[in-house]
Structure formats: C-alpha cells, structure tokens
Amino acid sequence: MDVPSIVERLRSDPSFSGSVVHWEFAPASAGSFADFPDWVHPAVRAAFRARGIERLFSHQREAAEAARAGEDTLVATPTASGKSLCYNLPVLDAIVRSKTETPDSPARALYLFPTKALSQDQVAELTELLGRLPVETCAFTYDGDTPPEVRRRLRDRGDVVVTNPYMLHEGILPNHPKWTDFFRGLRFVVVDEVHTLSGVFGSHVANVLRRLRRICAHYGSRPVFLGCSATIGNPGEHGERLFGAPVRVVDGDGSPRGERAYAFYNPPLLNAAAGLRASVVEEARRLAPLLAGEDHQTIFFAKSRSTAEVLVKYLKEGARGRGEDAEKIRSYRGGYLPELRRQVERDLRSGEVHTVVATNALELGIDVGSLDVAVLVGYPGSVASFFQQAGRAGRRGNASLAVLLCRASPDDQYLGGNPEYLFRARRERIAIDPDNLAILGNQMKCAAFELPFCRGEGFGDAPRAVVEETLDFFATEAGLLHREGDRYHWMAASYPAEDVSLDSTDMDNVVLLDAESRRAVCELDRAAALEQFHEGAVVGVQGETWVVDRFDYEGRRAYARKASTDYFTEAQVSREVAVLALEREERRGAFSLHRGEVHVTTVVPMFKKIRYYTRENCGAMELHLPPEEMDTEAFALVLAPEAAAAAGLLAGPRAGAWKGLGNLLRFASTLFVRCEPSDLGVVAEARSKRFEAPTITIYDNHPGGVGLSETAFAAAEDVLGAARSILEKCGCRSGCPACIGPPDEVGPAGKETALALLSSFLEAPALAG
C-alpha cells in the first residue's frame, strides 16, 4: 500500500483520526540535480554508475567541488540526502588519480565516525565502492577490534582509515611515528555526524583535531576537512569551532522529496479528572495494524532500549495473533552484537523485514534504505531528533508519513497542544568550547607528548596568551614539560591520552552472557548496566526475554537464562548530592551563591516488575548494588527560607516553580559555558541538608569537574539575567518546554513565580560573602 492510501485510511478511521490533534503536510520537492563534475576520474564515475548513480544532487556537486578546491566544508542536509557521496566522490577521485599519476605518494584519507558501530557500518559501503576501482586499495576500520596484522597493513598502506575520535585520541595520534607515511599522504579528513560532537565531548574532539592538524603540519601535509551533519541551527559556527578554521557550508538540499504528512496523535484520556492518558506503547500496539503491514515498511522509534523490546514483543505477538509472520518484525538498538545489527540492516534494505522497532541508534546514518512510515513513540526530546527520526521515512520522491504519539509527559503534551512549535522552532544550535581551560589544558598535555611545543607556535585557534601561559605553567610549576631554548619537551613517564577521557564514559562494556552456553547475548555501558543487568532484570533481545541470574559488577559480566515472563522490569534510580567543600560565597538579597565541590551518588535501590499489557505492578525487589560515585564541581543557589515561604515555594501551586527554575538555570548556564545541558547535572531541593533551605545545585556531570559550573558561577549574574530574558521573551502564557517547563509540571503560576524570584535576585545589590 502506498503512503497516500495509508494516510487516506487513517484519516477516515475514527479510532485513529479521532485522537489526531493536528495534521501537517510538507510539500514535495522535485529536487535539484547536477552532472558529475568534469574532473571526476572516469573510473570513479563508473564506480558510482554501477551503484545506479547517474547524476548528483546539487548539494553533492557543490560539496565535491568545494572539497576538490581544498575548502574545509560542512554539509548540513537532512537524513537520506546522500551525504556520504559528498565526501566519497572527492576522496575516491584523489585516490585513483594519485595511484595512477604519482604512485610514490598516494593520497590517504581519514574517516571519523562518532562511534565504533557506525564506522563499521560505513566501511562496508566504502569497501564496495573501492572494489569497483581499477587500482588496488586498502580500507579498514581501525579500532580496538582490529587484528594486529591488519593494523600494520593499514598503517603502512591504508588508503582510507575509518575510525572514531576515541581511537584517534588514544591510539593513533600518540603513536604518530608509526603512521609516518599515512600522515605524510593525508589529503582528506572526513568527520561525519558532526552534530553529535557537542558539549564536553565535542570540545574534546575539536582539540583532538587541533592535535591532528599539528601532526600533519609536522609531516608536511595539510588535509582538507569535510564534515557532515544533520540540519542544525549553526552549521557555519559549529564547523568553524570544531575544525578551527572557517568552513564552507553546504546546506541547500537538492535531493527530491515526496510529500510528507505529519500526524500528531494524542492518546485518549482514560480519566479526564486525573489527566490520565493511554500509554503510548499500548497505543502503538493497538494502532500497529493501521500503521504497519506486509506491503510497506514502518519504523517505530522508542525512547529507551527497554521500551523498544517491550513494543517489539507486543507487535510480534499481535502479528502471530493475526496469523502473520512475526519474523518480519524486528528490533534494533544499541547493545546488540554487531552481527545481529548487520543482519537487521540487511533485511531492512532488502525488504525482508517490514517493521522495525528501534531506538535512536537508527537516527544516525546507518544505511537501512528509506522506509515509508515513521512512528515516534514519544517526542525524542529535541527538534533535530524529531526531524531526523521523521526523515527515516521517505523513499526518494515518494510520499511518507510521520506519526508522533504524544506521551503523558509535559513536553509531549505541550507539543500535542502546540504542534506548530516544531515547525517554527529553530533547530538547536550545537555548542562546544574547545578553549575550556580544563579541556584545553588536558589536550595540550596530549599534544606536548606527541610533538614538542615551540614558543609562539600556538595551538589551533586557541587564544595565544592562554596557550603560552599554560605551557609555561606546565614547564615551571607542574613538572610536565622541560623547556630548552624555545622548545617545550614532554618530560613525564605517563601517557597522557590514557588519562584524558573524551566523554567521561567507560569504554569497556558489560556483556550479558547466556548462563549455559556462555555465548554473548548483548552488551551495555557500565552505568546503564546497573539499571538493566541487575539480578532479576528482564532483558529483551528481538522480543525474546532473558532473566539475569547473576551480575558480576567487577568482572563486567552478567549471566542470564532465556525465560518467558509475563512482566518486564524497571529499575529505580536515585541521585544525591552532598557538599564536600565550599570555596566561595556571595550574597544577593535573599539569595546566596556558593561554589565548591560535591559528591554525587547514584544508586539503584530497587526494581519493579511490571506486567505486560496491563502495566500492573506485580512486585518490587530490593537491590544491593554498589553506588556509582563521582566527586565533581558545583555551584549552588540558596534561597533564605523566609523568602521561600513568602514566595509560596514551600507548598501549594507555586511549589513546582523551584524545580522548573533549576532546569531553566541549567539551560541558561549552557549559554555561558558552551556545553550540552547533559554536561551539567541539576538538583533542586525544597530543603537541602547542607543549607537547610531551598537549594538549586548545578554540577559538572563529569568526574572531577571540567570547570563548567565554575564558569557558570563566575557568570551567575548573566546566567540569571538570561533566564529572566528567556521567560520574558517566551510567547507562552504560563510556561512551556522552551522556557520553564509546561504548566503540568511547574504549576499554573510557575512562570510568574520564577520571574519574580529572578527579578528579586537581579535587582538586589551584591554583598560580599
């Protein structure tokens, strides 16, 4: 069935259309095409032609021309607009030309993908293209799984090395003498999915790229940087910060689009008085026969891994109940072993699978072909993600449908009431701060290990004065560098890249094993494993369930047996912040501001068993897992209890404002410290143990801290001023997800109360603490 017929059927079916609060139709576009540029080597053209590509989209040609001309370029176009061709074309051309014309100095390329999984996906496509060329080529992923003999081959004669920022940071750059020929010949650096390089992680990656450029300069090469991104609010600015140089932005999408229909579906109220709505997972199950079927392909996006597993189980059981083949319904999420992922991707491309339930793991550029219908089971949390997920539907030139099922959460309900918000809101801007002193300093250690610094050399586009001062400090006070004449030599026995983590996450996963066969079933990062691999947890894989017998926290293993249960499990997470030390304090009116160190403890004290379908709670179990602990930096805003009482914060309809204000301040802080909201943690307490008063604590969500809350504290006046400005400028009446939060969450007077609190702070005179 084609999409217009599906839309027709949905519109005429009251069980669906009765709950649709809004239809939006984005018109089709015919696309804008261009021929291959004349300079493209005939063999490269033939390789693309063999894959059915006769013409280019206009943006592909524009990007390829810019790359060929040596311009650092950032392509920011929607999902499925053929971004990889934008870099593969100039790279393949350079490889074929150099191999035929100057065989002694072959052109090399480095491809960076944000994760290991993604790079393994992309190398398959690349290998196929390279295989069609008349010259011998070598391309491979270089990561922790690469066997030693392949590593040597790649180092010595890899034409394209496909890797991720972690490996570049820890494995390749610090060992550049082993990669001499590669760096000498490096002509292109491709960085894909640059919109994921944000916040602290992105700030680190920008510095890793500074180190890369420095090493290239040492070997006499100056590669062209080619970036690809989802549509973001600030491609030029983000590209320039990340690459340390102005970039040419290519964002005029030339790929053809069919008409796309968007349906906003708000599940019916079950209990109007309590505002209780049907669960979106339940609704997705109920609507599946309307939205998915054997004659077209549908993707369901779930907000979490466990939701994806619950939903795929429902969909498979539903299909069996209707006498359909449940094998044509699959799930896809992070944590699956690579072979399983590859298989689902293949089956989606071939059409073998018609329905897939995925997490945002399928939001990035994994090639599964284009589908017909995308069902978002809950708002994914950002405008960019919404359009990335919706964009998974839409075969070239054909119509597509995206359905948002609104959850009962405040964000989703706001969108249910104001669907136009998504279409007029600007795309999120990506914020990074490569010059953050903690990040810059740590990265300069790594850079100094790789090559001695010369005085006045600088470090990318980092402020010269800061670089000089940091070098001098490392040499004269920190005992890391030895200065001799105008050179600073690394002089410490450590390997600094090992101690500098790009995103504070643990690279070693926890593996779930079949307790009998000891075969790996799936894997998870350690923090998530606490919540999902604890003893008694039900873990779904492709709709089959496993029950965890034993969780070996130290050994990073969990042992499970296959069992069908009539329930799934949900762990409860609680987080506490204890103040360790306070360094500075300032008073403002009824407020006091503090900066210091805190200890953040995350525990998973228990889990609940929840029955499938009915969602009835059928038991809870206590857990005795070690807490995840972190010392970090924080700042706290404390309100005198009398003032809190006067503002009505302690109870009643205004009490929700304090929590809303906490979230708003966290967001406003990101305006001044250039990070992601997730780089900062926030806890808003009505009465904190330490201060015995209402307290908002904003902390660096990175062990040891990276100076984020320190900067926010120094800019507190601006942070609170910006928060007020956001509230004042926001067009909503009493709160929305874009400012303090929707009224459901912050109360009907939340916005007004928060405004009053902010004004009383900003208008009070500052007193020394």
Binding site: P177, N234, M491, K729, C730
Partner: protein, 278 residues
C-alpha cells in the same frame, strides 16, 4: 559581559541560541591553572659518551665473560630460531640496552641512555650514549646509529618488543632511516623463556640470579630511571649515576647470558649448577 548580554537580547524568541563567548572568571589564569593541574617543586651532568672497558678475564656474577667467545653461533641461531644468526661471529654481536623516559610507548617517550657493548680484543667495550637534554636528540640518535650500524646482529633482552620500537620511533620522528630491518636480532628473553623452567618468572633480574649467580647491590630499579632523568634535567641530578650503573649491569648480563645460551650444555642444566663450570 555587557556585550554578551546584548547578544542574548538580539536573539529572538526562546530558547535563545547558545554560542556566546565564555567569560573568564576574574581570578588570574595562573591561579586557575594551579588549582586545576597542581604544582610540582622546581642546575653539569654526565657527558654524552662514557666508555667502560671490562677485561674478558673478569667475571659477571659467577660467569667469566670470556666464555662468550666460546658461544657457538649455530647454537645461538638454533636457540633463537633465527638461522641467519649462525653466520655471525661473536665479535660482531652488538649488545644493546636502552633507558627511556617511560616504560610505555608513544611519540613522547625518549631514549635517553643507550648502552652498547661489543667484544674488542681482550675486553668488552661498553659505550654508553647519553642524551644530556632533549634538544640534542638528533645528534644523540646519529651517534647511536653510527655505533649500531656495523652490527652483525643485535643482542637484547625484550628488545624485539621494547628497545627496538623506542629507537625506531625516535629515528622516524627525526626522519632517520630504520636500523632494525634485518632479522639478525637475538632477543634473549625468548630462548630463556623456552628453556628455563622452575623459575618464578623470566625477568632479567631472576635469570641473572639463577644462571649467572649475580646479586645486584643497591641497584636502582628500572622503573625509577625515568624520574632520575627528569631530576637530572631539572638540575636535581642525584640518581642519574645510578641509571648508568644499572644500564652497565644490564648490558654485561646480556654478554654473560649469551655465553650461557651459546655454551655446549643447555641452559636448564645450568640452572642446577649456578655459574656453571668455574
């Protein structure tokens, strides 16, 4: 900060976009660096070449160094599983041990001492090339290359996995050609690992004790060599002499172990009679 506020005001709607400049807190940068990275307390050293001549008649531990002359190249080749070693005369062997700024690898690790010995006349001549400061690295490496260039074969302990790579990385760093392309490299750790049983491990220290009857007195442990060098560079040169001594003993042990390995009796029999035939 006024400019920042203005920028925010210019932005329409909400949420306001990010991207304003990070304001630096008003504390001095130096104060923030100290707090972030901590501090560490802050001076003529050894010459770039030290030559030590050890008579072949002397003993290392309980083994007479002259025994190395009796080492049978064919036997060494067989024990090392490297046939081309059979063509190398003992007087063309070059015994090599390096001291580095880290026990790991990577571009930031320097070789600061290369102990190189060969049998000349009736002596073992040990030349210890020293890097007085990192600025002189190229000259240091060229001297080491010249010294090693005429080698018939290298003899090391763990050199195939360590010393060789540290030197090669430095040569490449300075665009000097490779030295270790040939297969003539006798890394003693492998044959001793295969042949010697009944020892807790196969570290050089252990083998020296068991096979050579060598007891080191007041030896500076190898892992403290990097710090000794850093102290030397910082003008606190106390222990650098001990690194020279440590390296000297290491290289002489290579000579004596080669004698043991190349002797007519296999090394495991030597285990029973430490020191062998007096």
């Amino acid at each position: 900060m006024g400019a920042l506020r203005d920028k925010l005001r210019r932005l329409h709607g909400a949420p306001a976009g990010r991207g304003a400049l990070t304001p630096l807190p008003d504390e001095g940068l130096r104060v923030r660096l100290r707090r972030r990275f901590g501090t560490s307390e802050p001076a003529e050293g050894p010459s770039p070449l030290r030559v030590t001549r050890v008579p072949l008649l002397s003993r290392h531990g309980e083994v007479a160094l002259e025994k190395v002359l009796c080492a049978d190249p064919a036997r060494l080749a067989a024990e090392a599983r490297c046939p081309s070693l059979a063509e190398v005369r003992v007087r063309d062997l070059v015994f090599l041990d390096t001291e580095t700024t880290s026990l790991g690898g990577g571009a930031g690790v320097l070789v600061f001492l290369a102990g190189i010995a060969r049998v000349e006349g009736e002596e073992v001549v040990l030349r210890q090339h020293f890097l007085p400061s990192p600025g002189g690295e190229r000259a240091f490496l060229e001297a080491v290359r010249e010294e090693l260039g005429a080698a018939g074969a290298f003899v090391t302990f763990c050199g195939k996995s360590f010393d060789r790579h540290r030197l090669e990385d430095r040569f490449r760093f300075h665009s000097l050609p490779s030295l270790f392309g040939s297969e003539r490299h006798l890394d003693l750790v492998h044959p001793f690992r295969r042949n010697v049983r009944g020892v807790p491990d196969h570290r050089l220290r252990t083998l020296e004790g068991r096979l050579l009857g060598l007891r080191r007195v007041d030896d500076l442990p190898g892992e403290r060599a990097p710090q000794a060098y850093f102290d030397h560079l910082a003008g606190r040169g106390g222990e650098i002499e001990r690194v020279f001594e440590h390296n000297r003993l290491d290289v002489l042990s290579l000579v004596a172990l080669t004698a043991v390995l190349g002797a007519a009796s296999p090394p495991d029999r030597v285990t029973a009679e430490p020191g062998g035939d007096p």
